[in-house]
């Protein structure tokens, strides 16, 4: 299942602009990491948190000097969205917050993977 932009249109627009502003080389690295995830439904990093007992949240580093990507998967459907792109590695709580906004859900619980 392919990685998608979030359903929240203003967030999706902001993320698309953020990607567009990357240099061509950084953008190629970013999209390559996403292409691998599209091809293999395995996230290259460990799960960071579980949001509301339903959404798996991951923080992925596509490469040195490439922004971190927060990905959030709805375990009910398997759908995976980009929740945020950040220069600094987000804390688990921040990643969960980004995932909540991307999926349009209130953060009720955050399960942390030790």
């Amino acid at each position: 299942m392919s990685v998608r932009l979030p359903g929240d249109e203003s967030l999706a627009d902001r993320l698309a602009k953020r990607i567009e502003q990357m240099s061509p080389e950084v953008r190629a690295s970013f999209f390559s990491a996403i292409a691998v995830i599209d091809d293999c439904p395995t996230i290259p990093e460990e799960r960071t948190v579980i949001l509301n007992h339903r959404f798996d949240v991951f923080v992925v580093n596509p490469g040195d000097n490439v922004p971190y990507v927060v990905l959030a998967r709805d375990t009910a459907t398997g759908e995976l969205v980009i929740a945020e792109i950040a220069d600094e590695k987000p804390t688990p709580k921040a990643a969960a917050s980004h995932a909540g906004r991307a999926w349009g859900v209130v953060v009720h619980s955050i399960g942390v993977t030790p």
Binding site: V3, G7, R27, S29, P44
Partner: protein, 169 residues
């Protein structure tokens, strides 16, 4: 996997009992990429340069997934630092030069996934491919025999079926 959950407030607990419908996801990120590839020649060039690394990394990650290994577990088996596996599966911006994993690295990675590595050299001839040389690089004799059986063979695909037109097996 054990989880440490933050306690929920009573209000949050009550809200959780209600069925909360998440938003429908937006467009595939790959569509956004394809639009940018059409519009931006510099990005197209940078993307194309990473093609070989992308194919190798995708194959390695598929191997690891099939072996049901995390990056840390693979690193332990290969006697590597986990950071190395993470870097191996990533895409550092290439600048002028793209780093491609060495054959020794791929061999070790494959072995950690209980897989063997072979190289196949072929010459496309119209719809056929003539396999000129093969080499199995692992330690398995059965694997080496199968790979070597492809030597000097003509292969083609017809209606999704692999046809071996000539072979020494």
């Amino acid at each position: 996997m054990a989880n440490r959950n933050f306690a929920m407030s009573d209000a949050a607990e009550a809200a959780c009992t209600e069925e909360e419908q998440p938003l429908r996801p937006g467009r595939p990120v790959a569509d956004l990429r394809d639009d940018m590839l059409q519009e931006d020649a510099q990005f197209r060039a940078a993307w194309d340069v990473l093609e070989v690394r992308r194919r190798i990394v995708t194959t390695l990650v598929k191997l690891r997934r099939d072996a049901k290994l995390t990056q840390k577990e693979l690193a332990r088996r290969a006697k590597w630092n986990p950071t190395f596996v993470s870097r191996l599966e990533s895409f550092p911006p290439h600048g002028q030069k793209v780093s491609i994993p060495s054959i020794q690295t791929i061999l070790t990675y494959a072995a950690a996934c209980n897989s063997e590595l072979g190289l196949v050299f072929g010459r496309p001839e119209g719809e056929h491919v003539h396999i000129n040389e093969t080499v199995a690089l692992g330690k398995s004799d059965p694997f080496a025999k199968v790979v070597n059986a492809l030597d000097d063979t003509d292969l083609s695909i017809d209606a999704d079926i692999l046809k071996v037109e000539r072979g020494p097996v």
